[in-house]
């Protein structure tokens, strides 16, 4: 059982399909916001692997003795996304326009935390306008993607890989490197699992192997060398 960040859904399912082709291997997933998954582990749920959209949550669980040392396996970029065909947004500055509705992740999920870091780095006027334009705080990134593709909001902060996964439905505005927070994914074997060896093999495949290739295909970037 793998608890994984919602943004990892597409590549990890492809990875699991690859793993299933070898006999005796089966992977099951629970995808949700990393913060919710971490809270579930803290409340006593015991998956075999926890794959988080940040380093902070697995490190916190490590310090509580609930998981083994986390392994960084991918990075991503935060982008400003909007529905294809929408003409309201073509730059970060457009967020300051009146009536632009913005969705971000809630403070408990990495995608929301990254967005808040980014917003805090904006020039004061734009920052105030963006904060006033936030109409929705979703519990995970798939909720933001849903609201964007339904045009319930005009713009939202999601990962570059989410825009790739949405096919042609979403467009993205890149965020200048000076503003963008680094987005790193880390996975850890959960303490007490009876599947420690397969769990380690699963994580190794994310760093270099079928998982790595599935991540690259989905628009994720490799983790920086440790």
């Amino acid at each position: 059982m793998v608890f994984a960040a919602a943004s990892l859904k597409a590549p990890l399912e492809r990875y699991a399909a690859k793993l299933r082709s070898s006999p005796g291997v089966s992977v099951r997933y629970s995808f949700a916001g990393s913060g919710l998954l971490a809270a579930q582990i803290e409340e006593g749920l015991r998956p075999d692997v926890f794959a988080s959209a940040n380093l902070k949550l697995p490190r916190r669980l490590r310090s509580h003795g609930m998981v083994q040392t986390p392994v960084a396996f991918a990075t991503n970029r935060l982008v400003l996304a909007f529905a294809a065909g929408s003409s309201k947004i073509s730059s970060l500055g457009d967020l300051a326009r009146r009536g632009v509705a913005i969705a971000i992740g809630s403070a408990a999920v990495p995608v929301g935390e990254y967005a808040r870091i980014l917003i805090s780095r904006l020039p004061a006027r734009l920052r105030r306008a963006v904060l006033a334009g936030i109409r929705d705080e979703e519990p995970d990134v798939s909720g933001i993607v849903g609201k964007l593709s339904q045009r319930a909001v005009d713009a939202g902060f999601v990962y570059a890989s989410d825009v790739t996964a949405a096919g042609g439905a979403l467009r993205a505005v890149a965020i200048p490197a000076s503003l963008a927070p680094p987005v790193a994914y880390a996975a850890a074997v959960v303490n007490g699992t009876r599947q420690a060896a397969p769990a380690r093999a699963y994580i190794a495949g994310l760093v270099s192997g079928a998982g790595r290739r599935a991540l690259a295909q989905a628009g994720f970037l490799p983790a920086p060398a440790p």
């Binding site: 919710l36 936030i134 319930a152």
Partner: protein, 267 residues
């Protein structure tokens, strides 16, 4: 008749199992965290905003549901026509829909890209991401519960009473207001209580259709979900309030319906 000495104990064992299973999680909400911490967590701004919003939106939804549902249920209960059973089944359908399906349906119907989206935009009505959208979601999921109960309550009104009212010269409206509604009142209030409890617990349709923003669309169940990942005592405290409120509604319903069994009013 052969004696079945194990049957009595089996009944008791089943009841004990059901009781332990159904009551333990409710009790656990109150004992998982120290009571003092629960009470102090309730002062959290996000919690008070969520409770206020839940009370406001569910109250407005109940006013709408009663105002529209009472006459509609009366009509359904007193008329005989061919497609009646099919119509009633359609009206009850939202009751058994998964909330996420209800949310998606509302988006597809009333969202910006939905069937009525352009018409609503022309009329400058915005529902998604607005408090009004929460009310719409609550009406959609709780309305059928009231309709169902109200219809059963009106159906149970003695025909001779309404007939007598008409014989004495009262019109249809007067018969409805002075005879049918007063007689059916306990059943109507039962429906209201159950619909209200359902509205207070609504989660999926609200999240999908109205979103989640503190003070605007984040009702108590949404706040509980958000706080689970960040502040468990606050989530438990808010849960405890909802348990108390729902229990009060349930007891109210039981008292109103008196000796009659809870659930579907006797036909």
């Amino acid at each position: 008749m052969r004696a079945r000495p194990w049957f009595g104990p089996l009944l008791v064992a089943s009841l004990a199992l059901a009781f332990a299973f159904l009551v333990l999680p409710v009790v656990a909400i109150f004992v998982h965290t120290a009571p003092a911490k629960l009470v102090s967590s309730l002062g959290d701004r996000a919690s008070t905003d969520a409770l206020r919003l839940s009370l406001e939106t569910s109250t407005i939804a109940m006013v709408v549901v009663v105002a529209v549902g009472t006459p509609a249920a009366y009509w359904l209960a007193t008329r005989v026509f061919r497609a009646r059973a099919a119509l009633i089944t359609l009206l009850e359908l939202p009751l058994v829909l998964p909330p996420a399906v209800a949310g998606l349906g509302l988006l597809a119907a009333l969202g910006p890209d939905g069937i009525l989206g352009p018409a609503l935009a022309n009329a400058h009505v915005q529902l998604v991401l607005q408090t009004a959208g929460v009310v719409v979601a609550l009406c959609f999921v709780s309305g059928p519960l009231y309709l169902l109960q109200a219809q059963a309550a009106f159906g149970a009104v003695e025909r001779s009473l309404t007939d007598a009212s008409r014989t004495l010269g009262a019109g249809e409206a007067a018969t409805f207001a002075r005879v049918a509604v007063p007689v059916a009142l306990p059943g109507l209030l039962t429906g209201l209580g159950l619909a209200w409890a359902r509205a207070l617990g609504e989660f999926g349709a609200t999240l999908m259709f109205a979103g989640s923003l503190q003070g605007v669309t984040q009702t108590a169940p949404l706040a509980i979900y958000a706080q689970f990942a960040s502040d468990l005592p606050a989530a438990l405290a808010l849960s405890a309030v909802l348990v108390a409120f729902s229990a009060a509604l349930l007891v109210g319903v039981k008292l109103l319906s008196g000796s009659r069994s809870l659930g579907l009013a006797a036909r």
